[in-house]
């Protein structure tokens, strides 16, 4: 179980607990549940890398405590 921090630089900072083998799509659902936006409106990035929905966190090497950027579609 890892905890990821998502920040949209506009006031929304969200800490989400998830498994390493969760996909980005699952992470988006969890974020959507916590922030109230719709899951398909969320875009998770790290600098210019936009994370794709079907790849797991483990494959992206997202570790515990890592900060990700939250953007909207």
């Amino acid at each position: 179980m890892i905890e990821v921090v998502l920040n949209d630089r506009l006031g929304k900072k969200v800490r989400v607990k998830c498994n390493e083998d969760d996909t980005i799509g699952d992470l988006k659902k969890l974020v959507a549940a916590q922030t109230g936006t719709r899951a398909d409106k969320i875009r998770i990035q790290k600098w210019y890398t936009v994370f794709k929905d079907h790849i797991t966190l483990k494959d992206y090497e997202i570790h515990d405590g890592m900060g990700l950027e939250l953007y909207y579609n």
Partner: protein, 403 residues
Amino acid sequence: MANRTDPAAKSIHGTNPQNLVEKILRSKIYQNTYWKEQCFGLTAETLVDKAMELDHLGGTYGGSRKPTPFMCLILKMLQIQPDKEIVVEFIKNDEYKYVRVLGAFYMRLTGSVTDVYRYLEPLYNDYRKLRLKLSEGKFCLTHVDEVIDELLTKDYSCDIALPRVQKRWTLEACGLLEPRRSALEDDFEEEEEKEEEEQAMDSVEDDTHEKASIPFIFLCYNYYRGRSPIRERDRDRRRDRQYRDRDYERDYGRGRERDRDRDRDRDRERDRDKDRDRDRDRERDRHRLRDDRDYGRERERERDREGRERERRDRERGRRRSRSRSRSRDRRDRDHEDGDHRKRRTRGSVSPRRRPEDDGSTRDEPKKKKEKKEKKSDGTDHPDPEIAEANRLRASLGLKPLK
């Protein structure tokens, strides 16, 4: 300049009509080449030509959320705000189905509630196929009536948040709308009559429950006949008593099949003989309860109108029935349904639930958005409250528990 709303346009739902499409999506559309090239300087007439060239529906697609031409045309219509007559013409036209759906979508966004129901419900009878572009960029198949159903029941479609419309029964209660009439009403009747002929009469129900059924009269499928509610009620009382028991339970089982395969049922129903003189209220209403499109609406209506009496009665009936002769499948379905009823009562909102299997094994699916059978084994009773909370959320989303 090109993106400003027509200065003569009225505000819709209290805001600039273009604001119905949210900011990010609107910016995406403004930057889209289709918008810049094709949608510049469109008027209502030239818009029709563009609409006729449409060949698919959809919201945004791809990694960069590119909007479809359908969305661009919707925004253009919001910008120029054509008259209601023009929009109704779009909807009424039979030849171009995408123009029809475009008109229907625009009506749903901008029309008043009564207009929405009045103009969109006839489109339920349109079964033509449509091409829908998914968010991955692939195409999938849908139908006009499915799209209309989505527009009327959900509050989000094609990446646009639809304005709220009241439930149909609220409007009927206010007298703003006539009761729902469906073209399939006759087919349902035939089916019920067939069932009645096949089985013997069951035990008579006591009269007290008749009263609870009266509001259902107003929800009848009276498409071809203009029978008055009073006559319906009398007929209901006289004939329904004997049939209701058996049919109610049977309909539940059958209804599920109907949910699963509407087309198959429609064909089957059409093949039955027509017999117009039968009472149809109860059975029809129950059928409608199971009907795809009305599922959510009818469920709410039932709960609100009939309250506990009905569910209690059903349970009793179910218990009585299990002792008498009945098909095993019905019994399982019935128990299933009764438990469902009981649990549904406590839920505030309604969502049309599809049952993937027809046996009684999924009894325990109370308030979850998705079926989650291993509720107890998914870590929701973890000692750490935070983790338990997180696991509950995950379970509701359909994810496995935390490790």
